[in-house]
Symmetry: C2
Subunit: 454 residues, 2 copies
């Protein structure tokens, strides 16, 4: 519990007025207020909302994730929520509304003024993966032909509301985008001069329906401050570098969670039940796959009936773990390459698969030699009659398993991408189990062929 | 190979002049030029540098990673490299210089003018984890007492060089920071008015020696455009939101790579040898640990001599995989929490460890029941004389292993952090192997106690 929360609790227990608590809180930065409020008992939190203005609440919830913001506002009267929503930018408001229950969302939307409602409904109409769904409509636009003096006046007027003032957009009478203006250039420009003279007509723009990932990649690659989104050439909204970064970080966190075998990233203050729920799907899928592994081992149980071959069980974890780990390394690298869009052409993909198989073979030979030396030594000391043959099976299984593992770690996520499945779904534990099955098959088949008949 | 690269190669083969190739390239955005150049043969690339101006090269290399930029400039004459360095911001230049061989670096630095050299040496003097090492010294500062009109003039003069114009810093005659100015406020302010009247004296600032991670967290939490870095109250530099984000993304990519068992993130165009080198350390460490696992299984080999107990080997992978996966899930979550600085107080840590052990126990009981039902059924059908006892050992091992695995996945990274070791070092494969060892011990010990004596 942080110090601000402690002080408020103490004030509350001493029956301080809500107005006093509000005054105390307002000394702090909205981020600190949000963090303190998150740890207050719900009862006190709900009472506090009554004494904050809608604008203050809007500022505070801007510093928490939309999911938590929706949680904060759940028990607040719909009329006040509508007031808060009106104070927020349309994209943030849409994010929060999406996390409300259907009833609550509709009730709040009905209480909004026409303009705010239209803005929100426009954004909500885009598909989740379309750039339009995360765009901001608060940008500064100026009509072609105006003088830089008019422009400065326009910037002064619109600055308080605008999401960015670093880029200004020049449009024609119908809203078609003609060029972009860098604020730095505007500032050094002297009147009389039209905005058309100093604008950049070779701007980069995307369509509102373009894929978000594609748009974010453009913003990151070209280091763009604010990318315009068009529909039939008409400027509809912008995506700022900040927003692009936030979305990029969210995606990266999801990939990370999936590599760890989670369905999605866990929030900071999540209940045990909801955490377990997120972890369960993969674990259940793995249990089923592992039952399959068990049956496969059972199918080869005749191997273990031969006295000198029970040692095969000892080397089994080495092969499974080495192949699983090496495959996971390849998986991590492949997903990073896919995220960075470097595996698009067929040539690149073929090169990547070849490279990874080569890595697997190289590593397999290195570890195979080590494993041969170690197991031959151990088996000879143990007076096993088939020491060199068994050592060869172990070593050769490592070579084949590592090659296959690295190929699978590279191929499966690429295949998933082609099938339009998020490649991060091929999470670490999943691919490890697939590799387990293949490696065991190789190991036991080799043992049967080279040892059992002997 | 992209289209621009193809065209250049074709021009090159048709003996087009380097000037023509340059003119063709300069139509494109520096990002596109950088991407095209990366795929050219080194010979042609080196020749091309001769026809670009230092400023053009500086713009191009600004769009690639410092490591690759250093690689690009490796064969360029030192005098030209010095020219390029002079055109870059001091922090980017320092990053690139750090990737040169010692000889080359010193030679280039000796060719720089005094001012550029001083700037670079100041930055290079900070430790790698200190905020000063990534700060920018190109900010706009104005002296206290000036009028907003002077300020606008100052902004116009310094804008082309400055890293950000959204935040302007007000300092006294000795360079002490007195307040920050939001450009939006400056634009709407009317003269006569001093900068002191409109500045924000309650700004957030950090020390040049503060830890980078700490500084980035502040920038992200408070959504700061440019955070001032001070030394004894004197403004030394700034860290922009963009730079903070870039660093944050780099760290996240490293954590991701480590969870996948890589020592560091791989570059896009990396040689097989260098890739294998990055993957080898973990795999070698794991091989050694796995040899240890093998010996442990051998230590319990008396169990397998009992006919009805050979089935123990069949269930071994289920227990190892479930515990390993669940532990990796916990590891991923714990590292995310550490990265977000939510595990700082002892209370938070104790709560986290307790929660994770509880998750493990919950999941363990759920999967234990499933495993019991499945294995009891299978063993009974197989006419195993000890079916229920064995099923109990399997189930109970799952309960204990999952609890221990989740506790370890939460505890080890926290312990590493306390010992000042990067917690991401407790990578997925490492923790999986630790959990393997513990789970096997539990499984075999239980089997020995409950089955072998029977």
């Amino acid at each position: 519990m942080n110090d601000i929360t402690k002080t408020i609790r103490a004030m509350w227990e001493e029956n301080a007025s809500l107005q006093d608590i509000r005054a105390y809180l307002l000394q702090f930065h909205p981020y600190e207020i949000a963090a303190a409020i998150a740890e207050l008992p719900e009862e006190l939190r709900d009472e506090l909302y009554g004494v904050f203005t809608s604008k203050e609440i809007a500022e505070i919830v801007a510093y928490v994730e939309p999911e938590q913001a929706a949680d904060f506002l759940e028990d607040v009267a719909n009329r006040q929520v509508a007031g808060v929503i009106k104070e927020m930018s349309a994209d943030d408001a849409t994010d929060i509304l999406e996390h409300f229950e259907d009833d609550k969302r509709q009730a709040v939307i009905n209480l909004l003024d026409r303009e705010t409602r239209d803005d929100i409904e426009t954004l909500a109409a885009y598909e989740e993966n379309e750039a339009g769904s995360i765009m901001s409509t608060e940008f500064i636009a100026i009509e072609s032909g105006k003088d830089v003096k008019d422009l400065m006046r326009e910037i002064v007027r619109q600055a308080p509301e605008a999401d960015t003032i670093n880029t200004i957009f020049v449009v024609d009478a119908h809203g078609h985008l003609l060029g972009t203006l860098d604020l730095k250039k505007v500032i050094v420009a002297r009147s009389p001069r039209t905005v058309d003279e100093i604008m950049n007509p070779n701007f980069r723009a995307k369509n509102v329906r373009d894929d978000i990932e594609d748009v974010i990649k453009t913003i990151r690659d070209y280091d763009i401050d604010a990318l315009p989104l068009l529909e039939d050439g008409v400027l509809k909204g912008i995506i700022t570098g900040d927003d692009a970064m936030d979305t990029f970080v969210e995606e990266a966190e999801e990939d990370y969670a999936r590599l760890g075998g989670l369905t999605e990233s866990e929030e900071l203050f999540e209940s045990t039940f909801s955490s377990v729920k997120k972890r369960l799907p993969w674990l259940l899928a793995l249990l089923v796959m592992n039952v399959f592994v068990t049956f496969m081992i059972i199918a080869f149980d005749f191997l273990f009936t031969v006295g000198s071959l029970t040692v095969l069980a000892f080397f089994q974890p080495v092969i499974l773990n080495m192949a699983g780990n090496s495959g996971t390394q390849t998986l991590a690298i492949t997903i990073q390459k896919i995220t960075k869009d470097t595996l698009e052409s067929k040539g690149d993909i073929a090169k990547h698969l070849g490279r990874e198989a080569a890595h697997g073979l190289t590593l397999g030979i290195a570890f195979g030699l080590l494993a041969f030396a170690f197991s031959a030594l151990f088996l000879t000391l143990d007076h096993n009659p088939q020491s060199f043959r068994i050592a060869f099976v172990v070593a050769f299984s490592l070579v084949v398993s590592l090659t296959v593992a690295n190929f699978a770690g590279a191929f499966i996520p690429v295949l998933f991408t082609k099938l339009k499945i998020d490649p991060a779904t091929a999470s670490g534990p999943f691919i490890t189990t697939v590799i387990d099955i293949v490696s065991l098959l190789i190991y036991f088949a080799l043992a049967t062929a080279l040892l059992y008949s002997a």
